[in-house]
Amino acid sequence: MDRIPIIKMAEFLLVSIQVDMHDKLALTLQDDLTNQIVKSRARGVLIDISSLEIVDSFIGRMLANIAAMSRVLDAATVVVGMRPAVAITLVELGMSLTGVRTALNVERGMDLLRDALGEPAAVDGAHANAQD
């Protein structure tokens, strides 16, 4: 796979990383995603990394970069489904991704995006936490 698919859903873009990220793939994703945000005028980006088992400082920086780029393009980014081991690794690497919204799963991530865009949450009671 030389490209990670980006799915457009209403005003959101969904990216699900299902394979191990290598550096080139990450750079392609950055490219594709920024292009896609501009093209589709998306207001939110959701990145699902629940299948990601191995991270290094490069992938961590890539996630932070994507969030920063989306912010410049006025789209909120939320990273969802991080595994405990991945979270611990990132923290130990000193990358706590400040500035990136996070949620436990896709459902909560979508709530968080809707919240961030000022729309009422679709699911009753389920609360995503806003991180700012």
Binding site: I88, V91, H127
Partner: protein
């Protein structure tokens, strides 16, 4: 030690094995270091008999190599381990070997007492061997005690880092004791696992039971908070005592990124508020609205 002299010791031992054993056991039974509460007479006799047999065998085969005494050491290792677990003191354990000297030397004197030079050599050799075995016993004793301590430490680690669910979507981590790197790791793993299991969005870390907070502990706390945030859960640190608040400020630790509360109750209230719950007192018995407390 030369082979010849150890051989002589072995011969003498072989000739008088029964007497030496009896004297040795009697002496152990009479000694102040005897622990009648932990080991009975029969068991002691059996241990002594087996060790003496192994000792004689080793002396017979002795060629100056360390390996000749492997069996004796293995036996003592076993004995020492058992005794350490039973609650013997180190000297009580070592005396098992050292007390063999007296009956052994008595026999030596009886056999070759007319030749002072030979007697001196013989006693020295036996002494060296027994001292070495005795020290080995103590060493093993020490090691097995350390194993017990490590085991207990690990158990304490497990016991002292529980993660409890306070409310739907709210976890609580009452931390007791000092936070070092190893414990932070356990706490972090437990917390993250619980977040996945319960889908919690808020975790309250209560540090009432943490005696001191220095820069390292604060750093560990912040790491835990950061890891939980990556999993989509907010952390609230509660139970900050006045002295600890002062220490944190004096040390220049930056806790601005984290919500902090003085008590667990305050933290819980904020957690409920953020998850959209409210606790209300039932106005009266007539009131039909269900209270949440």
């Amino acid at each position: 030690m030369s082979q010849k002299t150890m051989m002589r010791l072995a011969t003498i031992l072989e000739r008088h094995e029964k007497d030496v054993l009896n004297e040795w056991v009697d002496q152990q039974l009479a000694a102040v270091t005897r622990r009648r509460d932990l080991v009975n007479d029969q068991e002691l006799r059996e241990h002594s008999r087996r060790f003496l047999a192994i000792f004689r065998q080793a002396a017979q085969n002795d060629s100056g190599a360390d390996a000749d005494w492997a069996e004796a050491r293995a036996f003592l290792e076993d004995l020492s381990r058992t005794r350490a677990r039973q609650g013997f003191s180190p000297s009580e354990t070592a005396m098992f070997v050292f007390s063999l000297k007296q009956p052994l030397f008595a026999r030596l004197r009886q056999e070759i007492g007319r030749d002072p030079d030979a007697l001196g050599d013989e006693m020295w050799n036996a002494s060296v061997v027994l001292d070495r075995l005795g020290l080995y016993t103590t060493e093993v004793y020490q090691k097995s005690r350390e194993e017990v301590i490590v085991h207990q430490q690990r158990e304490m680690l497990e016991l002292s880092t529980p993660v409890v669910q306070l409310w739907q979507g709210v976890l609580g981590l009452p931390l007791i004791g000092t936070l070092d790197s190893a414990r932070t790791q356990v706490v972090m793993e437990n917390l993250l696992r619980s977040i996945v299991e319960t889908g919690a969005t808020i975790a309250v870390i209560d540090i009432t039971g943490v005696p001191t907070v220095d820069t390292l502990v604060a750093q560990h706390l912040l790491k835990t908070v950061a890891a939980a945030r990556l999993m989509g859960a907010d952390c609230i640190i509660s139970g900050i005592r006045p002295q600890i608040a002062q220490t944190i400020v004096h040390l220049g630790v930056d806790l601005n990124a984290v919500t902090t509360k003085a008590t667990l109750a305050d933290a819980f209230a904020i957690a409920l508020q953020r998850t959209g719950f409210a606790v209300t007192r039932a106005a009266s018995a007539r009131s039909a609205s269900p209270a949440k407390n």
